[in-house]
């Protein structure tokens, strides 16, 4: 069979396109924006119901220039990072302690399971009442949201360290600290990082829920402001920033996982 030059070029183009992930993503985003814009113009929707992408873009540049966006973005980011710091540290420490004491684990596990099923949105107002509308309550809410997945995964990771490898450490007369360093941390790390990945995503939700309840800064506050002023474009800007924030956090943990677990080509029984 003979192909005409133009058809080979066409096939070549589509093949190259389907291989280029970046370009594809960009294209799909552009397509989405286009549909959105067409929808808004066609239905003639007012801006406070659904602003057009162009409007949102204008708003974005606007708040970016005045520094408003950065102020609120950095406030939320700060809450999340502090929340992660405290939540992850507390969960890791408690997880290690509980893994060493099966009795304590059994005593605490009903509370752990129970508290995990309380929606954060339900206790966020409570925390705001107790700890005020400032930074503290947000950091606490954030910490609590990351706490449980990280705690559970730390526990599971440590509990699943193969007992025969524990025996090896014991036969080599390793101290508890050495066992932690040479065996428990590397063995539990994959599961732990899985928990951190979930926790990092949840922490964004935690911070926003806290801000929506009561705050004077942050992306959640910005959403409240936008809503109050029927400035829907502002709400969109805040939401998009949140998505970017959550995705970057997730990506960062993923990167960490790939980095730390590069030796993880194993997973076979040894």
């Amino acid at each position: 069979m003979k192909e005409t030059p133009s058809s080979t070029i066409k096939i070549d183009f589509w093949q190259r396109l389907s291989r280029n992930r970046m370009l594809l993503t960009l294209l799909s985003v552009l397509l989405f924006l286009l549909i959105w814009q067409v929808l808004v113009s066609a239905l003639n929707l007012p801006g406070f119901i659904l602003p057009s992408p162009a409007e949102v873009g204008r708003k974005f540049l606007d708040v970016l220039r005045t520094g408003l966006l950065w102020r609120h973005f950095s406030a939320t980011l700060g809450e999340i990072l502090l929340g992660l710091l405290f939540g992850v540290s507390a969960a890791t420490l408690l997880g290690y302690a509980l893994s060493k004491s099966p009795l304590a684990e059994r005593l605490l596990s009903p509370f752990l399971v129970g508290s995990q099923s309380i929606p954060m949105a339900a206790i966020a107002p409570l925390l705001v009442i107790w700890f005020g509308p400032g930074l503290l309550s947000k950091v606490l809410i954030c910490s609590l949201t990351v706490f449980f997945p990280v705690l559970v995964n730390t526990l599971v990771g440590l509990r699943d360290v193969p007992p025969e490898l524990r025996e090896v450490m014991e036969s080599l007369r390793a101290s508890p600290a050495q066992t932690l360093r040479y065996l428990e941390i590397p063995a539990a790390l994959p599961v732990f990082l899985g928990g951190l990945r979930v926790g990092a995503s949840l922490s964004v939700i935690g911070a926003i829920v806290g801000e929506l309840v009561a705050s004077d800064r942050g992306l959640g506050f910005l959403i409240n402001v936008g809503r109050g002023q029927y400035d829907t474009a502002l709400v969109f800007v805040a939401v998009i920033c949140l998505v970017i924030l959550a995705a970057s956090l997730y990506g960062f943990v993923l990167l960490l996982e790939n980095r730390v677990l590069s030796w993880q080509t194993w997973r076979k029984e040894v």
Partner: protein, 262 residues
Amino acid sequence: MTFSTTEIALEVNDLEVSFVDSDGSLEVLDKISFSIERNAFVCIVGPSGGGKSTLLRAVAGLIQPTGGNVLFPGMAEDKAQTGLVFQKPNLLPWRTLRDNISLPLEIDQRPEAEISVLTQEMIRLVGLEGFEKAYPHELSGGMAQRVAIARCLVQNPEILLLDEPFGQLDALTRERMGDELLRIWNERRKTVLMVTHSISEAIFLADRVLVLTCRPARLIMDLPIELPRPRADAMRYLPEFTEAARLLHAQLKDTTVPACQL
């Protein structure tokens, strides 16, 4: 070697081990007593599931005996006395071959230079040069087992406890590793207690062969092997060798009666 023949390195007195679980207790070791002279090479044979690994674990201090005790006469309490090679290699999957072998030295907090030298020496000894950077999943079963042996030897323990260390090796490598083990034993003046399933291997390597019965394991035979040292392949055809093999085989056949089912 006369000075060492009477000194006792390891003493096992009325050792009893039972495992307790939900449906009662399982008696595995039943009043086992023996002692091993310093620098002796002793092999244990016995039916599968009888309790040989359990005995080694108890001697290594990994299991608390239900009764009796294990003593190391004339040895400093704090010194590394026993080194155990498990039945499975039990390597750390995230460490390279080299780093698995150096692990005991790192735990012992030796200086970096010393670790490097000793580890390299061990890698050469077990014939794994060129695989230093390989991860455990990239090794064959026999290679992994040799890494496990190297990891034990690198600590230079007084007493070597070996649980079927050559189980995964082919016949020829097995013999070579046996010779190698005899060389190390002779050079470094070790005391060896080794479990094996091979009667001929036990006779070829050991000064004494202990026979355990099925669970609960009792010691029913303690056979001295009167072959001269150093051992050579030709000795496998000596009448003493065959006679020992016949005795052990008969004894094992007696003990591995249907009662030995799990």
